[in-house]
């Protein structure tokens, strides 16, 4: 039996910090990496060891890859957007140029790219916008029209770099406090954009509640929805079993499924979105 395992391209390696810049509430960091940069696809993530020798932080931190590129001279570049709010991400955001960090990458599934040009809507919540700009570039290069919605609690938490915006036909901003763009949530503006742009597929990345809301909207309209989920992980490589979600498999059975292996990118319509702290009824083995 061929049971699911980690991204076959994943490697463990030390990566050197090439640059580290503060952008709004976030840090944009560039790392020098090996050939894995050519294997990384939009949606893949990286698991990073934090804290340095003797640290009390024993678990890896997972970050969506913002962009992975290979320079003409063959050097691989891996870019991340870090939101420094915990001890681990704060440690990482304090690394200086020339420092080394230990990574395992690329991990997880990638956003599926349609074979035909389609009209796509990309929705990011907070730093969940990180993997969407590379995705937008790929979609645009395939002849797709790309609209984008970015939402956050406040203006400083919108991550929308200038170079990223080049690949999108329209960008709509929402903030919970009204400090930028539309006062409200991404789910308030999505139905209008779906209608005006004849959207055929939604790609999303952000908090679970946002992904659940988008799933409802897309299901009602029969639109495909690929979402990148954020469930906390201890390892990123499929061995700790902490990052699970109830997800329907190809056989129609709902299982507690590892989001580091079968995700982070998943078909939103297959996920049982639940706020309760119980395993939903009908899950295999409950």
């Amino acid at each position: 039996m061929d049971f699911p395992t980690i991204n076959p391209k994943a490697q463990q390696f030390d990566a050197e910090v090439l640059s580290n810049k503060r952008v709004g509430s976030y840090n944009h960091m560039v790392f020098s990496v090996n050939e894995i940069a050519s294997y990384a696809r939009p949606g893949n993530f990286v698991a990073i060891s934090v804290g340095g020798p003797g640290t009390s932080m024993v678990l890896r931190r997972a970050f969506a890859i913002y962009r992975a590129t290979v320079k003409p001279d063959g050097q691989g570049l891996l870019e991340l957007v870090i939101a420094p709010f915990g001890n681990g991400s704060t440690w990482l955001s304090n690394r200086q140029v020339g420092d080394l960090v230990n990574m395992v990458a690329p991990l997880g599934t990638a956003f599926g790219i349609p074979t035909e040009p389609v009209r796509a809507l990309l929705v990011g919540g907070g730093y969940g916008s990180a993997p969407l700009f590379a995705l937008a570039e790929v979609l645009k290069s395939r002849g797709c029209r790309v609209d984008m919605v970015l939402g956050a609690s406040t203006a400083a938490k919108i991550y929308a770099p200038l170079e990223g915006k080049r690949s999108v036909s329209s960008l709509t901003i929402t903030t919970d406090d009204g400090s930028a763009g539309t006062h409200g949530r991404v789910s308030d503006v999505i139905p209008g954009i779906i209608a005006s742009s004849n959207i055929e597929i939604i790609y999303s990345c952000g908090p679970m509640a946002m992904l659940a809301a988008i799933t409802n909207i897309s299901k009602e309209r029969g639109i495909m929805h690929q979402c990148s989920v954020e469930e906390s992980m201890a390892c990123g490589i499929g061995v700790c079993m902490t990052c699970v979600l109830p997800v329907e498999g190809e056989d129609g059975v709902v299982r507690m499924t590892r989001t580091c292996i079968d995700g982070p990118v998943m078909d939103g319509s297959k996920v049982t979105w639940t706020k309760s702290r119980e395993v939903p009824d009908g899950v295999w083995g409950k």
Binding site: S56, R60, C243, R277
Partner: protein, 314 residues
């Protein structure tokens, strides 16, 4: 003179003393991308139950100072699918296999032992008795001498003579040597020390316990002194009973500490979450330390901290 790194536990022989810890190596396939599993002394599988288990709801995990709390709930496919899918693949890797089993009733342990008995090529059976006993108000088997004995007796009667039984004990008891004596009397060939300690984290923002199940098992370097203490006490009480030591080992130095306390082999668990190649790093470092300390044979280091003052490695 070459250093002999091999070890043994009641007839189970290992080329080196570094094993995985149950529930910390997935199906094995995940880690095989980082090193050949055959480099391990053995792989200890996740604790498998009679039937498929969904495990708990999330959040299942909270990081703690030098450790983590987990409440996975023994998610797994059940013994039949496990023996059909996971074991054949592991055998192809040329790695020795220790199957870990867990039950909710004494009869579960008997059923699991009979299933494993029919499988050739299993090096040892770890019996995880740190599980709630549904027939005894959910009290953990390993917290009570009688239920610990019942579970191990059930396995002993059903496993046959060839596969050594290793009973995995919880440190959450008043006197771990009392439980150790009971399970050895009941037929355990070796002991796995220690399982996680029960703990809780409360999220001070939501002001609720962080894990969906409220409590979880604490692992990682934070519990290493508890492991060293438990291994030392049990080795002193039962010097002839081999111990598979575990609890917060992240370096060769840590593994050596457990060996000095009395462990014949060492399992690596939480360290693998932080570093997929942790077991290989620990193995190399442990070998170097043993040689530096003057040991020519790994087995001479087992329980060395129990020697009389003035004794030396030579």
């Amino acid at each position: 003179m070459t250093f002999d790194f091999s070890t043994a536990m009641s007839g189970a022989r290992f080329s080196n003393p570094i094993l995985t810890a149950s529930g910390c190596a997935g199906s094995g396939k995940e880690l095989s991308q980082f090193f050949p599993l055959s480099e391990l002394g053995a792989i200890v599988t996740k604790s498998i139950m009679v039937k498929p288990r969904s495990g708990r709801a999330t959040p299942r995990m909270a990081e703690t100072p030098s450790g983590m709390l987990n409440s996975i709930g023994l998610q797994g496919p059940g013994i039949d699918q496990f023996l059909e899918n996971d074991i054949p693949w592991l055998k192809e890797q040329g790695v020795k296999i220790v199957i870990s089993i867990a039950g909710e009733t004494v009869e579960d342990y008997a059923v699991l032992a009979r299933k494993v008995r029919g499988v050739p090529g299993i090096t040892a059976l770890e019996v995880n008795i740190s599980c709630p006993n549904v027939e005894n108000r959910g009290q953990v088997f390993a917290c009570n001498p009688d239920t610990a004995r019942d579970a191990i007796s059930a396995v002993r009667r059903n496993i046959g003579g060839e596969v050594p039984i290793i009973a995995k004990l919880t440190p959450d008891v008043t006197d771990i040597t009392e439980i150790a004596r009971e399970v050895v009397d009941a037929g355990a060939d070796g002991l796995a020390l220690i399982n996680t300690l029960l703990g809780m984290v409360i999220d001070t923002n939501t002001m609720f316990p962080k894990l969906s199940q409220k409590t979880g098992g604490l692992s990682g370097p934070a519990i290493r002194p508890v492991a060293v203490r438990a291994i030392y006490q049990v080795h002193a009480a039962l010097p002839e009973t081999p111990i598979l030591g575990m609890g917060g080992v992240v370096s060769g130095r840590d593994a050596f500490e457990l060996v000095l306390a009395g462990a014949s082999a060492v399992s690596v668990g939480t360290a693998t979450f932080g570093n997929p190649t942790a077991a290989m790093v620990i193995k190399q470092e442990l070998e170097e330390i043993c040689i530096q300390r003057g040991f020519q044979n790994f087995r001479d280091a087992i329980g060395f901290a129990h020697r009389a003052e003035g004794d030396h490695a030579e």
